[in-house]
């Protein structure tokens, strides 16, 4: 009874929040921009009219076909997925403190770890929904533009890659939940999300990316090229799982033991 009640409560709260719809809109822009680049590459005349945007499209994409389009989609999903999990995870946990409702929840006769599980489940449901919408949109837009070189294997591989990167991005969420609970608000974890993304870029560039969680996800998405993704071994995935387990346990301990003075 407790978990369904918490999940339905969190879903209702998320449904009524602007951040949910803004994040979904932001995520939906990735396939839209991807297909815009494809359209420019496919029609150089339109590219010339758009000036700088056409130059950027040539530089980023190369050729207007399904493999290039999927590659862009995978990379975009990996980076945006991590940012959005950070922001939404921070919001879901931090809003209770920012809005002063944490004291209402934590004095209830409910085991507090259920709140951590319930909120994590809701972030998971939210991300899964966004990913499905994202994939559907990507396929529909690619089909409408009539991109060449489509194959079933390519579609399955790209879908699997997007799902895997989103799954890994989700595992990085509880760390920001913990920072939200510890700092009693959502500003600090959103700041931490930005720092993690910057560090991910630095670690990725210095060759240590396969050991840094916020580099592993974009590498898997193909941000460092298709060969780099193949270098990710079991160790990299274990690192991400450790971050998830540590983040979840720390959040549970923090919410259970720390004083709530807000």
């Amino acid at each position: 009874m407790t978990l369904p009640a918490i999940v339905s409560m969190e879903l209702l709260k998320l449904k009524r929040s602007r951040i949910t719809w803004l994040s979904m809109l932001g995520f939906a822009l990735i396939p839209l921009f991807g297909i815009l680049f494809m359209a420019i590459l496919k029609d150089p005349a339109m590219g010339r009219k758009l000036g700088l945007l056409a130059t950027k499209a040539r530089w980023t994409a190369g050729s207007a076909d399904w493999p290039t389009y999927f590659s862009m989609i995978q990379q975009g999903a990996a980076v945006a997925g991590m940012i959005l999990v950070g922001i939404v995870g921070s919001y879901v946990f931090g809003r209770e403190y920012t809005e002063g409702t944490a004291k209402n929840l934590l004095a209830l006769p409910v085991r507090r770890f259920w709140f951590v599980i319930g909120k994590t489940a809701v972030v998971c449901i939210w991300l899964a929904s966004m990913t499905l919408v994202f994939l559907l949109e990507a396929f529909v837009l690619g089909g409408v533009l009539g991109l060449p070189l489509y194959s079933r294997d390519l579609a399955v591989h790209s879908t699997e890659t997007v799902l895997a990167t989103m799954g890994l991005a989700l595992l990085l969420g509880p760390v920001f939940g913990w920072i939200a609970v510890a700092s009693k608000g959502y500003l600090a974890p959103i700041g931490a999300t930005i720092v993690a993304m910057l560090l991910g870029t630095i670690f990725g560039a210095t060759g240590w990316g396969k050991w840094f969680p916020w580099s592993i996800v974009p590498i898997l998405g193909g941000a460092a090229g298709p060969d780099a993704a193949k270098e990710l071994g079991a160790g990299s995935f274990i690192v991400v799982v450790i971050v998830f387990v540590a983040g979840t346990i720390c959040t549970m301990i923090q919410i259970e033991k720390a004083d709530n003075t807000q």
Partner: protein
């Protein structure tokens, strides 16, 4: 336990040696008090006296540095779940999810409590929130937000209500309504109310007993009869020799005296019926008694004296 509670003999809330330190600051110091089942206990103190910290410890929101909290005979630290299941609460400002309606805010709380579905409409009606049922909490006035907080506290018919400044933001009519509701709940249903406030008038009209907290310490507990008498057991005397008079009172009557309001005056804490004894003791000690008068002190003056506030 159940029979004891029904008869008003049991203890609903028991705080024993409760202490809370924030670093080097001691917010609550060795606080011991007992709230009887079915009574309304007023917890009075100035801002920063330790009222909210105490309430947060009662609700398990913060962990005491020392001491213990027991709810209906169960120690909270050992069995938080059982203790909290009997309590409805309102802590400081009445917070609610601003994007959810009044009904939704109450509904999610009801589901987490496991209370029957119809209780939401009951508390909406009891707090006169019917017209605002489908209004988002973020668009409520301060007073209606407070009513929403109180409605949440009343959900599930709790046996104990812990209310921190419940009159905050309410208009005079609202304050009267809340007072009457709490009195009804206490008298008709035996609900225990632990109520903190810095509004003396409100507390004195409502509470069966009043505990005054100052700088984290419980400095006095008085019952409503004492408060209603609006007088204290003190006598002020003006004498020719303060030291000799004080010694005589201590030696002959066992009474302690402190410096009074004016020069050459002493204030003696005792029953006012002992005025004649005091006069005889002072005169017998060879001290001139220039003036003797009982000091009338209402709750406000008493509070100011105990907490060092200017009256």
């Amino acid at each position: 336990m159940g029979n004891d509670l029904a008869a008003g003999r049991g203890t609903a809330i028991e705080l024993t040696g409760l202490t809370k330190d924030y670093g080097k600051v001691r917010a609550v110091h060795d606080l011991t008090l007992r709230v009887r089942a079915g009574e309304i206990y007023g917890f009075l103190g100035r801002n920063g006296a330790g009222k909210t910290t105490t309430i947060r410890m009662i609700l398990g929101l913060i962990t005491p540095s020392a001491g213990r909290v027991s709810i209906l005979g169960r120690e909270l630290r050992k069995d938080r779940f059982a203790g909290l299941s009997s309590i409805g609460y309102l802590v400081e400002s009445a917070a609610a999810y601003p994007n959810l309606t009044v009904r939704e805010n109450l509904e999610i709380h009801r589901r987490l409590l496991g209370a029957p579905p119809d209780t939401v409409e009951e508390v909406i009606a009891s707090q006169h929130l019917g017209a605002y049922r489908d209004r988002r909490a973020g668009r409520l006035s301060l007073g209606n937000k407070q009513r929403l907080g109180l409605a949440r506290a009343f959900l599930g018919s709790p046996r104990i209500l812990v209310l921190d400044e419940p009159a905050n933001g309410l208009d005079p009519a609202g304050i009267v309504e809340i007072r009457e509701l709490l009195l009804r709940l206490s008298r008709d249903r035996g609900v225990t109310v632990f109520l903190s406030s810095h509004i003396l008038g409100e507390i004195s009209l409502l509470a069966d007993r009043i505990g005054i907290i100052h700088q984290g310490r419980l400095v006095e507990e008085i019952d409503s009869a004492q408060a209603a008498r609006a007088s204290s057991s003190e006598i002020e005397i003006a004498v020719s020799d303060l030291a000799r008079a004080a010694r005589a009172l201590a030696a002959d009557l066992g009474l302690s005296a402190v410096a009074g309001a004016g020069p050459g005056s002493l204030r003696v804490v005792c029953d006012q019926a002992r005025a004649a004894d005091i006069a005889r003791a002072v005169v017998a000690a060879g001290v001139d008694l220039l003036r003797l008068c009982p000091v009338s002190e209402d709750l406000e003056l008493r509070f100011c004296r105990l907490t060092g506030a200017s009256s």
